[in-house]
């Protein structure tokens, strides 16, 4: 009888622990962001054609300059990308070198987007099939990666860059610059 009671209480304890786990996990704030597993790793190999007439295309080799750079994924069709455009300009004014990848885009649409919302990019590659996006572990647009001078990914910013994110990204750029 006593053994039975102990087993019963064990079952109650296990069930209670399980429900406690459910309760804890269900109360965690929901995070829709899928972070890239590539942060801390070298950039994957890619060589993209130019996405607009007045900027060259973008390849992995373009990042091995010794200087940290930003890699911004955008699309002319992406509304949040318009919202983050002033922040990219601000980053450029404060000395950031910014390269871009235009996802699923046409040269005409990219040209129009750059004319309307500014062109802080030194190079823009076109990624028609999202292949570079997948290679980077990016889940959508806009996303911004900090790449150090050796071509290693050191930081990922998911979603549009808000004004408050500008100092954070500048600090990450400095960190990437001093680290390499």
């Amino acid at each position: 009888m006593r053994r039975l009671r102990i087993i019963l209480w064990c079952m109650v304890a296990v069930a209670a622990a399980l429900f406690a786990l459910f309760y804890y996990q269900l109360n965690q704030p929901k995070n829709d962001f899928v972070t890239s597993a590539m942060v801390g790793q070298p950039l994957p190999q890619f060589a993209l054609e130019p996405a607009s007439a007045d900027r060259p295309g973008l390849a992995t080799a373009d990042f091995k300059t010794g200087e940290p750079q930003l890699l911004n994924l955008f699309g002319s069709w992406c509304i949040p990308c318009r919202i983050e455009a002033p922040q990219l300009e601000a980053l450029e004014r404060q000395g950031a070198r910014i390269t871009g990848v235009a996802l699923r885009d046409t040269p005409e649409d990219v040209a129009q987007f750059l004319e309307l919302y500014g062109n802080p990019f030194t190079r823009i590659g076109r990624d028609d099939l999202s292949e570079t996006q997948f290679a980077l572990g990016a889940s959508g647009v806009p996303e911004t990666f900090v790449i150090d001078g050796a071509g290693r990914i050191t930081y990922q910013h998911i979603g549009p860059i808000a004004p408050g994110d500008v100092p954070v990204i500048l600090a990450e750029l400095r960190k990437a610059g001093s680290g390499s």
């Binding site: 069930a15 622990a17 786990l21 899928v34 597993a37 069709w77 699923r104 099939l129 999202s130 572990g137």
Partner: protein
């Protein structure tokens, strides 16, 4: 009510208009010529999470990014990669989250261990009860 439904439908339609005017990737909606490869690709697609529409598999979603992911899956399978290799490639980019196939890891092991513990306890409990009843039945 009707207005509300119309508004909801409009909200659903908005993103479609915002997805640009680039045609879908070659293998987004086109099956592979080899039926065996297509079957393998399709089975894999049902177990991969769409990045944008996170509660759907890439087989179920009409989002352009899901189309591009289907293209990757079919192109890689057609090039001779195994479904597990394609899954591992995606996991190396996005972590376990991308896959619907459960993996035992540091955070998921209780899901596998707890049911086993409960099962063992239940069997022990049952044996104890049956044993006692049998003993008392024989005694009386």
């Amino acid at each position: 009510m009707r207005r509300l439904v119309a508004l909801l439908l409009l909200a659903l339609a908005g993103p479609l208009a915002a997805q640009g005017n680039v045609p879908p990737a070659p293998y987004a909606y086109t099956q592979l010529a080899d039926p065996a490869q297509e079957a393998a690709a399709r089975e894999l697609m049902h177990t991969l999470r769409c990045l944008q529409c996170q509660s759907q598999s890439i087989a179920d979603s009409d989002a352009p990014i899901a189309g591009d992911m289907r293209h990757q899956v079919r192109a890689r399978i057609a090039a001779g990669e195994s479904p597990d290799e394609v899954r591992d490639w995606l996991i190396s980019r996005y972590g376990d989250y991308i896959s619907y196939e459960p993996q035992v890891s540091a955070s998921t092991w209780p899901l596998f261990v707890v049911p086993a513990i409960i099962l063992v306890l239940a069997v022990l409990l049952l044996l104890a009860r049956v044993g006692r009843r049998r003993a008392s039945g024989e005694g009386g």
